[in-house]
């Protein structure tokens, strides 16, 4: 099965970089055989990155009002992401819109696990806030175990 890990975010905006942090930590843990891509906020790149694979594991920061470090899990292959969690940008295609465009084009993988980690600090600068760093480390452990046991067990 062709699995691709997609880390979304901007490492220069503190917790916004948590998706990138998790993706890179998984790459460091599991080695070069893992197909990892780090993406910024251009949703068209995401549409492209969803093509030609069987499963996608997507990690991004979210801001829903939940406690910082809360990990939200979605099965995007089954249904669209909840709109309330998603930023709406007039400039770029957001993650939810990119997933819907990929779905409309028939290029959404059969399995799409989306992990949204609730951020606390989206200000300028590098590094994650403490609750987000702890949640990210925990998620890396969980995902690494799943990915080495069986490929992508996150979706039914």
């Amino acid at each position: 099965m062709r699995l691709r890990v997609l880390g979304i975010g901007n490492g220069a905006r503190r917790d916004d970089g948590v998706g990138v942090w998790v993706a890179q930590a998984l790459a460091a843990r599991l080695g070069d055989s893992l197909d990892v891509r780090v993406l910024g906020d251009d949703g068209f790149q995401l549409v492209d990155a969803l093509g030609g694979i069987d499963a996608a594991l997507l990690i991004d920061a979210v801001q829903s009002g939940a406690a910082p470090g809360t990990v939200h899990r979605f099965d995007a292959a089954r249904q669209p992401l909840p709109p309330a969690l998603l930023r709406c940008s007039t400039h770029a295609l957001g993650v939810a819109e990119a997933l819907e465009l990929a779905r409309a084009l028939g290029q959404l993988p059969a399995r799409v696990a989306v992990y949204g980690i609730e951020g606390a600090d989206f200000g300028l600068g590098a590094g994650l806030s403490a609750p987000v760093a702890a949640a990210a480390a925990g998620l890396v452990e969980e995902l690494a175990a799943n990915l080495t046991d069986r490929p992508c067990t996150n979706t039914p």
Binding site: G40, D42, F44, Q45, V47, D48, T90, H91, A92, L93, E97, E100, L101, A104, L105, G106
Partner: protein, 431 residues
């Protein structure tokens, strides 16, 4: 018209860049006010440039827009190079044109297929359109990606490139690095010609206006990075005299300044203007594509701008291939220069039209004054005039329909309101 007072409010116009509102007032069946209100907060770019080294101007101003950063890079370089009397060697000028081709391709394709085409095919957005026109959207995304590839390679990254500097680039690509772009660009050129076929069959409103077109014009090439400022009514000036021709004025309803000619005239910038004033400079396949699409040498129907953009995409792809094939890396990535005191003027053709920069620099090379006029800002007045002329014969339509035609008319220009801010809320007041 039996009704005398109607009020329509649209809180947000989707598929333009930025935030704004449209206010229409209809009094006794007559349209009395059509105001495009830009209410994004001012961004103070001109002020924050003061005191900065003139070599920083390209990278700072590129942040004004995520869709056309290359245009900002190119206009600011042109202005500072003008100030310093710097002659950029031909291979570097060619490489900059290649970079600009990349931006035209990605920006035009985004505008045409993601923002504007849903209007003509009757969809609320590109995602809905993609469900029934998947092949067209897939092709568009692939063409756009080919343009992104150029910007990523020459600019160092796809958004807000970092490899451009006064006098040239920080690092030159090798021929071997450019070569892999070629196959995808060749594919995109064929695909862009094909994509123009369904656009030719669209049902465009029967609407034309007698615009005063303004664009750059160059001796030998379709304008991108250089040329003189020309207009359809005979103006022909060096860029340094831009301020003699167009001046900016504050209007109460908008944080975007409006531009007028000395006699109060309104000018039209962008693809229609470039095309009308430079039809003889089109590349062979672009000219053939225009003819195949049924476009005359001057297009005065703003709704057909989607097709003219398509012609320019063909041109940009053709140019990109030519420039890649002819590329021989020079000895130096950038011409050397020393800052000096003076005033420099630069204008290049952003995808949406002439983008003008003017800088005053002191003997230490620090910027003392900056003026940046985004094409969307200049086009505000022409958009309002289009709306007045287009809405007036349509006043009998219900508010929803009226709103849809207004939005489509605005998206003819894809106002990058963020750049001018200096998106759309529509209020219609009928008395």
């Amino acid at each position: 018209m039996t009704e005398t007072t109607r009020t329509i409010e649209v809180n947000q116009l989707a598929r333009v860049e930025g935030e704004g509102a449209l206010h229409l007032a209809i009094d006794g069946g007559q349209l009395t006010v059509a105001e495009l209100r830009i209410f994004e907060p001012p961004r103070y770019f001109e002020a924050l440039l003061r005191g900065r080294d003139c070599r920083e101007a390209p990278d700072i101003t590129a942040r004004i827009c995520g869709i056309c950063p290359v245009a900002y890079l190119m206009s600011s370089c042109a202005a500072i190079e003008d100030l310093c009397g710097l002659r950029v060697p031909a291979p570097l000028v060619d490489l900059r044109r290649l970079l600009y081709c990349g931006e035209w391709i990605e920006s035009h394709v985004l505008h045409m297929f993601m923002l504007h085409l849903p209007d003509f095919l009757g969809y609320p957005d590109a995602v809905s359109m993609a469900r029934e026109h998947g092949d067209l959207v897939r092709a568009a995304l692939r063409i756009k990606k080919a343009g992104n590839g150029i910007v990523a390679l020459l600019g160092g990254r796809e958004i807000h490139p970092i490899n451009v500097r006064i006098g040239g680039f920080y690092r030159l690509p090798t021929r071997a690095e450019l070569a892999p772009l070629r196959d995808e660009l060749a594919f995109a050129l064929d695909a862009a010609e094909q994509a123009l076929v369904p656009l030719a069959a669209l049902d465009f409103p029967d609407f034309e206006r007698d615009y005063t077109f303004v664009a750059l014009r160059h001796d030998s090439e379709y304008p991108m990075g250089r040329g003189r400022l020309v207009s359809s009514d005979g103006v022909d000036l060096p860029v340094a005299r831009y301020d003699d021709y167009l001046t900016e004025h504050h209007v109460r309803h908008s944080t975007s300044l409006h531009s007028r000619t000395a006699d109060g005239g309104v000018v039209h910038l962008g693809p229609l203007a470039r095309y009308a004033l430079n039809h003889d400079r089109l590349t062979p396949r672009a000219r053939a594509a225009a003819a195949a699409a049924g476009l005359p040498p001057v297009v005065r129907n703003p709704f057909r701008s989607i097709q003219v953009r398509g012609v320019e995409v063909v041109l940009a792809l053709e140019e990109a291939l030519r420039l890649i094939d002819g590329y021989v890396p020079g000895d130096t990535p950038a011409a050397a220069f020393e800052p000096r005191a003076g005033i420099g003027y630069g204008a290049t053709e952003a995808p949406r039209g002439v983008l003008y920069h003017r800088y005053a620099v002191d003997a230490a090379g620090l910027i003392t004054d900056a003026k940046i006029v985004a094409p969307t800002s200049v086009n505000q007045a022409v958009i309002e005039a289009d709306l007045r002329h287009y809405v007036e014969p349509n006043l009998h339509q219900p508010d929803e329909a009226l709103r849809a035609v207004c939005e489509t008319a605005i998206r003819n220009y894809d106002p990058c309101i963020s750049c001018s801010a200096h998106f759309l809320k529509l209020t219609v007041e009928r008395r």
